[in-house]
Amino acid sequence: MKILGISAHYHDSAAALLVDGLPVAAVQEERLSRRKNDAAFPLAAIEWCLDEGGIEPDELDAVVFYERPMLKFERILTTALRAWPQGRKAFVHAMKNSLGEKIWVRGLIQAHLGVPRKKILFTEHHQSHAAAAFLTAPTDEAAILTTDGVGEWATLTVGRGRRTPDGATSIELLREVRWPHSLGMLYSTFTAFLGFSVNEGEYKVMGLASYGTPRFADAVRKTIQRTPDGAFSLDLSYFAYHTTVASSYSKRFEEAFGPPRLSWEPIDLTTEDGQRYADIAASVQLVLEEILVDLARSLQRETGLPDLCLGGGVALNGVANARILGESGFERLFVPPAPGDAGCALGAALYVDRVHFGNPDRPFPDHPFWGPPIGAGELARIALEDGLPVEEFAGDALIERTADDLAAGRIVGWMQGASELGPRALGHRSILAAPHSAETRDRLNRDIKYREEFRPFAPVVPAELAHRYFELPPGGVQLSRFMSGVFPVRSEWKAALAAVTHVDGTARLQALPREMAPRLHDLLHAYGRKSGVPVLLNTSFNLAGEPIVNRVVEGYSTFRRCGIDVLVAGDARVAKRVWSRATAEEELEA
């Protein structure tokens, strides 16, 4: 069967194509449109997926949308009505926002793809998350926990998934917490309060949390209370996202936590306000972790299962994930590479294939590389047009040359094979650097990523050597293959890994199995032979405000505009004529 999954209209729209139960293509729209977090109907992504699969729309057996648009509209409308009369602006905004195209998804798909109505299917938002988490995980039976801001009505669900030896698959969601009570919205509200963009700045809150002490934890606990049945509810008097579009928090929230940070205000941790922001971040992070661990622990006791599959945007919180793995009683924790809405395109397609149509389960390839590949010879062509010398290497020579570059302190843009699905660069669209000195980290922040100093960089290490450098609990390597957990750096290696060790002594590592990205794995070993430490700093190949690069030309333009010294794409290598002391502008003038 040929099934196309689509997610769109909230953030990170994406498409995924499944043929006979296995993905052949999946990509986020932002990688093609070059608009970060692009939420538009993913026409370019759909087109690319169909091209990649070599099929026409009329050959599709089903097109699946990742949520039920009418049910979502019902929630939006009901929320505005519940807030009457204060909700008038929210009502107007919601109507304008929804009635344009968001609720006419069936017609939209029909108009763009020309498929008959009966072939257009819908899963629930959290079913899509659950499927993306369970059906991509190497486990036969697992508990499932999904949690995000909101889908239709559900904000958190628990359930279980099962594969039987005859290939039948079931995903059963048992219960849910409903809007407006939401862990995702709690975290997003603090994200907004701390002056970061919602659905984008949550990473920053997590990074900032390490610089604070949770002195506001009790105040946060007043905003979210546990219910007698083990769930939670928000004290809505602290929040405003359910009544207005102007702000997500109320005056009472400001009274509890002080004045909010203005988005343009830099965070200076030496000031009283800067430290307050860090302490607030630490407090909400702590409370989130406590609740997630407790929910997971109850679920483990209830199901008695050793495996947990975690989905939804909150599953991007690596610090919380590590605590769940360590404290909930589950032996293994699976988080897909795209646990957020982008991954729902794939999840929805898998759900319909395995559960709705009842097709037999097939082992899912354990990697995130479902996007467009790099074009052979593209880098050589562009660089030669610009008069830059290009070197092409065969076999291991490229690995050795790149390891030399890294050992010499050069920063390398690294593009190989197909791009990753999900928000993280996992070895095919990465900026790599030596992980040893804090100076490298500062240079990356200053000359390349142009981002806040408090945000950490992540290390990548061969999976088989991860324990040597990091304190990993059982299941930690498995969780870290998609960079989904934050774990302590071993004390004896902290100095040698200064560029990737966060202020609290932890790192959000990627423990890379060779079969996932053989070239990067070889590079790590080659670098280890030269430096004694087979670890590299790995950060996403993009500049602030831009999506991760996709095609070589985008990698090249990024390379020309910032302090990256060397660009490697496939077998080709291009280096700046003047090493990194030159500004990008001087280099362009050269």
Binding site: R34, L71, S170, V177, E254, V355, V553, E585
Partner: protein
């Protein structure tokens, strides 16, 4: 309106330091957005010379963003803290529009160059007006002077490149771009008016027609309770419904 009336409007708009700071911060965002679009233009073009110029232009825009942001922050730090941004009057202080209403991929190099030329020309004119009324704030005036210097280069190279690429059609391309700017300005105005009209109608509907439903929704909410809610088994597996 005479130039002196324009000057008075600009003077009024830039007189208040808080509004001045907010405008500068907004300009910074617009410049950064425009820079990203120029990067896209550099990635899309097949002309190596244009690629280099677009990338340089993009770096200029980024530098402008940094200049505006730096000055805006300096101004705002010197003021007493306020929780929320004041009233925005974007239409009274146009910066560059960036390329926000242009899909770079859908444009050829010629159309894009014509669009850029006009956009830079218009921004240069606005910035020159701001320089003229900012005499009391020399640091802000200097920021605009620096940006203005680059705008002159941008205006020149876009025209020169357009004439190189389309020697016979350059004038027509610029006129065509000018008409498109007018059309888009009309669309912006029309959609703003439609927005106001929609706001009035929907607000009236909300306040006059929906109270009964609102009362029912509130009553249902009170009955709903909090905590776990079981998921009915029939919800698992069904994929035919939008509801």
């Amino acid at each position: 309106m005479t130039p002196s009336v324009f000057s008075l409007v600009h003077w009024l708009v830039w007189r208040d330091p808080r509004r001045r700071a907010e405008n500068l911060l907004r300009f910074a965002e617009v410049e950064a957005d425009g820079g990203r679009d120029l990067v896209r233009a550099a990635e899309v073009t097949t002309d190596p010379n244009l690629r280099k110029l677009f990338l340089k232009h993009a770096l200029d825009e980024q530098r402008h963003a940094d200049l505006f942001r730096g000055r805006g922050l300096a101004l705002i730090r010197a003021l007493p803290r306020e929780g929320a941004a004041g009233i925005q009057a974007d239409w009274m202080t146009p910066g560059e529009r960036g390329l926000d209403d242009l899909r770079v991929e859908d444009e050829g190099d010629e159309k894009l160059l014509a669009f850029l030329h006009l956009s830079e020309k218009s921004a240069a004119k606005d910035f020159a007006n701001y320089v003229a009324v900012l005499g009391a704030d020399r640091p802000t005036q200097e920021v605009f002077e620096k940006v203005l210097h680059d705008e002159t280069f941008h205006m020149t190279y876009t025209k020169k490149e357009l004439e190189r690429m389309a020697p016979r059609r350059a004038g027509w391309r610029i006129w065509s771009a000018r008409l498109r700017r007018f059309w888009k300005a009309y669309l912006r105005l029309a959609s703003a008016l439609a927005g106001v009209f929609g706001f009035i109608v929907l607000t009236a509907q909300y306040l006059l027609v929906l109270p009964v439903f609102a009362w029912q929704a509130k009553r249902a909410e009170r009955r709903e309770g909090v905590g776990w809610r079981p998921i009915a088994p029939e919800r698992n597996g069904s994929a035919d419904r939008q509801y």
